[in-house]
């Protein structure tokens, strides 16, 4: 059942939130040991929350649009009094004294928080193999990765543990695992969803979004978590967009461009085939679909791997053993910090801290970070040009279907290529969605990506709903 259907049934008193939760907890109990989607399952707290929802329904109150819906949170979202680890040793034992804004809003909408999901350490990775607590496995094939970094959230939804999970997307970390796990994943416009309480990886790129089984659920959750937050200065002071109400408006008359540069080398032929099938489906639904060139997107990966590590090197400086987390004692403060960080951080995090520190250092700033910022501007400009003639853009989400565990861990650069299609919209701050659209030659899910200009979530999800319908009719 979708979140929308569950909430409707619970609000109508047809089902109890407690029963719904117990069914999901039973599914978790049965399969979580193999999947390892969660860092922490909060069964007792979730039961108390579900019972509170049932009491409110019984009392004739409306507990909100997500009444009784079990939700999982990526473990880089702060939860008051509950460990928030970012799948890193360096945050072991740390319980935030506050809830992230999105968590507050979910609770206020009646959602039941079921647990904290696994991720690549500090959201750095594309396979969830960089977790200090071990990898998550893809529910469609347990020998394969679920994608990353929100692999735990994607797997939790795909395995039926929860109908809704939140992830964070810095370069594709919601959409790529959504594609690999066969679920819907949305990265909203930068600033539409408050980042307050999201443990920062790369602040200018990070955005929180939903992973769901249906487009309608994604719209519903986005309506709940979006909206201005005075605690986040980059939060956009606009009213929450109406999304659920416009989902059935179709794509008649929309102009959709298929990004040529993202169908090139490195993208598997069966993935390209699914993108063309999606293009056909959109055309059949009344959209004008044609190829479009967005040249600067080819530089996205290079710019991203300078900007994101640069910000990360600064954001992760606070994990120094002084205030929280484990400390390794040493003779001097500097040695203590070095020893603590050496032990606390995993290899990928260290790699990016070093990359970012180098990119920002006095002698290299202009050659690397400064140039990356200029590329970022260029990407925004090329997107703007494309959007003069197109309402939406279409591309693959991931160049391949889910790859085997361990396949790319020895080669960071090949891993980085997993995000080549998703990164440009983070650099531009634009919204994007990955919708499951059939399977590849290996029978594993393929996701296609739709991109839109800033704050055009409604158009984006309308088109996603058309693809979802076309997929159902085809199967």
């Amino acid at each position: 059942m979708s979140a929308q259907e569950l909430a409707a049934a619970i609000r109508a008193g047809e089902r109890s939130a407690r029963d719904v939760l117990d069914e999901h907890l039973a599914t978790i109990e049965a399969r979580e040991p193999q999947i390892h989607a969660f860092n922490l399952v909060l069964a007792d707290e979730a039961r108390a929350a579900a019972e509170a929802i049932d009491r409110r329904v019984a009392a004739g109150e409306d507990p909100g649009p997500l009444a009784g819906v079990p939700v999982a949170l990526k473990d880089n979202l702060c939860t008051r009094g509950t460990p928030t680890t970012c799948s890193s040793r360096i945050l072991e034992g740390w319980c935030p004294p506050y809830d992230a804004t999105v968590v507050e809003r979910l609770r206020a909408a009646g959602a039941v928080i079921v647990g904290k999901t696994n991720l690549d350490e500090f959201a750095m990775g594309s396979s969830t193999e960089n977790s200090a607590f071990g990898p998550t496995r893809n529910p469609h094939d347990e020998t394969r990765v679920p994608g990353g970094s929100s692999g735990g959230s994607a797997a939790a939804v795909a395995a039926g543990f929860v109908p809704v999970a939140l992830g964070s997307d810095t370069g594709g970390s919601i959409r790529q695992p959504a594609a690999l796990c066969g679920v819907v994943g949305v990265k909203p416009t930068y600033g539409l969803v408050s980042r307050y309480g999201l443990v920062a990886f790369a602040s200018s790129l990070d955005q929180i979004g939903p992973l769901t089984t249906t487009v309608a659920d994604a719209a519903l959750v986005l309506e709940v978590i979006a909206g201005h937050d005075p605690r986040d200065s980059t939060s956009i002071p606009e009213p929450v967009p109406a999304l659920s109400a416009v989902l059935d408006h179709g794509v008649e008359g929309l102009r959709i461009g298929v990004v040529s540069e993202l169908l090139g080398q490195g993208v598997a032929a069966d993935v390209v085939a699914r993108v063309h099938a999606a293009a056909d489906a959109l055309a059949r639904a009344g959209a004008t679909v044609e190829p479009v060139s967005v040249p600067a997107v080819t530089y996205g990966l290079s710019a991203y791997y300078l900007i994101a590590p640069a910000e990360a090197s600064s954001n992760l400086a606070r994990y120094d053993g002084v205030r929280y987390g484990p400390r390794v004692d040493a003779a001097t403060t500097g040695e203590m910090m070095t020893a603590t960080r050496t032990r606390g951080f995993g290899a990928e995090v260290k790699r990016r801290i070093m990359l970012g520190t180098y990119a920002l250092s006095a002698g290299y700033y202009d050659a690397y970070y400064g140039k990356a910022l200029r590329v970022r501007t260029l990407i925004g400009r090329d997107f703007a040009a494309a959007y003069e003639h197109h309402d939406l853009l279409l591309s693959p989400t991931s160049p391949t279907t889910a790859f085997p565990l361990g396949d790319k861990t020895a080669d960071p650069l090949s891993m980085y290529l997993s995000d080549v299609c998703t990164i440009p919209s983070n650099l531009a701050g634009h919204p994007a969605v990955s919708v499951p659209f059939g399977t590849g030659a290996d029978g594993l899910p393929v996701g296609v990506q739709l991109l839109a200009p800033a704050l055009h979530e409604a158009t984006l999800l309308r088109a996603a709903a058309v693809l979802e319908l076309a997929r159902e009719e085809a199967s």
Partner: protein
């Protein structure tokens, strides 16, 4: 020009000094959160996730801090520019995020100047906004971090709003550097930007010092002396550092650009860190904050609400005194001590300007002087003019006036500095009113200013008639009684 003559070579050297003054902005809350900005609270009680830099927390800029920084900037004749916050990255245990949010290449206030009491204009390069760090206390090992048994960190100060005012290297002597800080302090107080208390650390000075042979126009290599927290230390540290540099240069060595610390007890500066540890702060734009673009209407409103600044107040007093040259020092002191208002009112009440300023300069450097009644001060001065009190007696009377709030006549009487009884005085007053009908008419019908002057006139006449024995304040009261009666 202040120069330093080398004892060994006899060569003349010149100071080149630029100052970086950090001061706390007088806001109710911190720069990026709603925690109280207060001095002296229990350690780690004024803290929250934001100022502790906890994972997931985000800064939100305090509008009042920006307003105060802009007020200061405008008072320093700076241009207020659209600005951007940056991260200054370095590791330190009392810095919660291990980066400091500051303004780097695009500060709020740029390119102004500050006029010192002697008329010198010192260029202001910038006045930018930044957050303070916490405070470490190293317990044991003489308070040094590497020898301490353990360290305590208080984050109450972390996130306190600071403005850093960077002067151009326009200062040419330790005294001028001190005068600059005093003047800046005056501007900070006048604008309400800061309480500027050096003793509480809300105003700290770093001095960039270099030397060059007199006549040389290019700059020498400078050293930065950190955290000077009194004017005395500032002057001594600059003087020591300049001599150290001269000794180096004269013996054929080079000055190494570095940070140095002032050792108050030893009376010397010490090297702070070695060259190979030179910091690279890896500045980049703070992605959690948006650029700060003040509305021109906001800047205009600030300009309109700008109070009289010390330089304006000196000019105003100088105008009343009549020509600044002779009384320049006294005027500067009056403004610095915040006694210019008192002096102006006392002069308006008929007090002789020269004598009023003399008292301000020499006798009023005490607590409570600002509460002195201007009319009483005028009356006291008149008693001196009339020869009723000697300078020494006047000093004693003045001290008691500040202490007790009594009027000078009463004090003089009590101390046996001869005075008259009121009935006797009334006769004299009435005679004088009769003798000066024109002045009296004007006194009765004139405006406040005119009446002030004529009060002085009548008090003066009474003093003359009584050979200074009359109590000026009583005379003033009698005059007012008569005026009320004749209306």
């Amino acid at each position: 020009m202040t120069t330093i003559t080398s004892a060994t070579t006899g060569r003349e050297w010149e100071y080149v000094i630029g100052l970086e003054v950090h001061c706390e902005l007088a806001t109710a809350t911190k720069l990026f959160c709603a925690c109280p900005n207060e001095f002296g609270a229990e350690p780690n009680t004024n803290v929250c996730p934001v100022c502790l830099g906890l994972p997931g927390s985000l800064p939100v800029l305090n509008r009042r801090a920006v307003e105060l920084a802009m007020r200061l900037g405008r008072a320093l004749h700076c241009t207020v520019e659209p600005s951007v916050f940056a991260r200054k990255n370095y590791f330190y245990p009392d810095m919660p995020k291990d980066y400091q949010i500051s303004q780097y290449d695009r500060p709020t206030n740029v390119d102004g100047w500050l006029e010192l009491a002697d008329g010198t204009r010192v260029g202001i390069e910038r006045a930018h906004i930044e957050e303070d760090t916490g405070k470490s206390t190293h317990v044991g090992g003489g308070g040094r971090i590497h020898e301490a048994g353990y360290s305590l960190v208080d984050y109450n100060r972390a996130g306190v709003p600071l403005v850093e005012i960077v002067s151009r290297p326009d200062l040419r002597s330790p005294d001028q550097a001190k005068a600059y800080v005093s003047e800046l302090r005056g501007v900070l107080l006048a604008t309400g930007a800061s309480d500027a208390k050096m003793e509480e650390g809300s105003l700290r000075v770093d001095a960039n010092v270099s030397v060059r042979p007199v006549g040389e126009t290019s700059f020498g290599t400078r050293c930065e002396i950190k955290n000077l927290n009194s004017l005395r230390s500032l002057g001594r540290a600059i003087e020591y550092e300049a001599r150290r540099q001269i000794d180096l240069l004269e013996s054929g060595e080079r000055v190494v650009q570095e940070t140095r610390h002032w050792d108050e007890e030893g009376g010397r500066t010490r090297s702070g860190r070695s060259k190979e540890e030179a910091e690279d702060y890896r500045y980049f734009q703070e992605p959690d904050l948006v650029p700060l673009v003040p509305d021109p209407a906001w800047i205009a409103a600030i300009d309109e609400s700008m109070p009289l600044l010390p330089a304006d107040r000196r000019a105003r007093l100088a105008e009343v005194v009549g020509g600044p040259s002779a009384a320049a020092t006294a005027i500067a002191i009056a403004v610095e001590r915040g006694l210019d208002g008192l002096a102006l009112q006392a002069i308006a009440a008929g007090g002789d300007p020269g004598r009023v300023l003399t008292h301000v300069e020499h006798d009023l450097a005490v607590d409570g002087a600002e509460r002195l009644d201007p009319a009483s001060l005028a009356a006291l001065v008149q008693m001196e003019v009339d020869g009723q009190l000697t300078a020494t007696q006047a000093k004693q009377v003045l001290a008691e006036m500040i202490e007790t709030g009594s009027d000078p006549g009463a004090i003089a009487l009590a101390r046996g500095f001869e005075a008259m009884d009121t009935a006797e005085l009334e006769v004299v007053v009435d005679e004088l009113i009769a003798a000066h009908p024109g002045e009296w008419d004007e006194f009765v019908s004139g405006d406040d200013k005119r009446r002030g002057k004529l009060t002085g006139f009548f008090v003066g006449q009474v003093m003359k008639a009584t050979k200074g024995k009359a109590d000026g304040k009583v005379v003033t009261r009698l005059l007012e009684d008569r005026r009320a009666g004749s209306n």
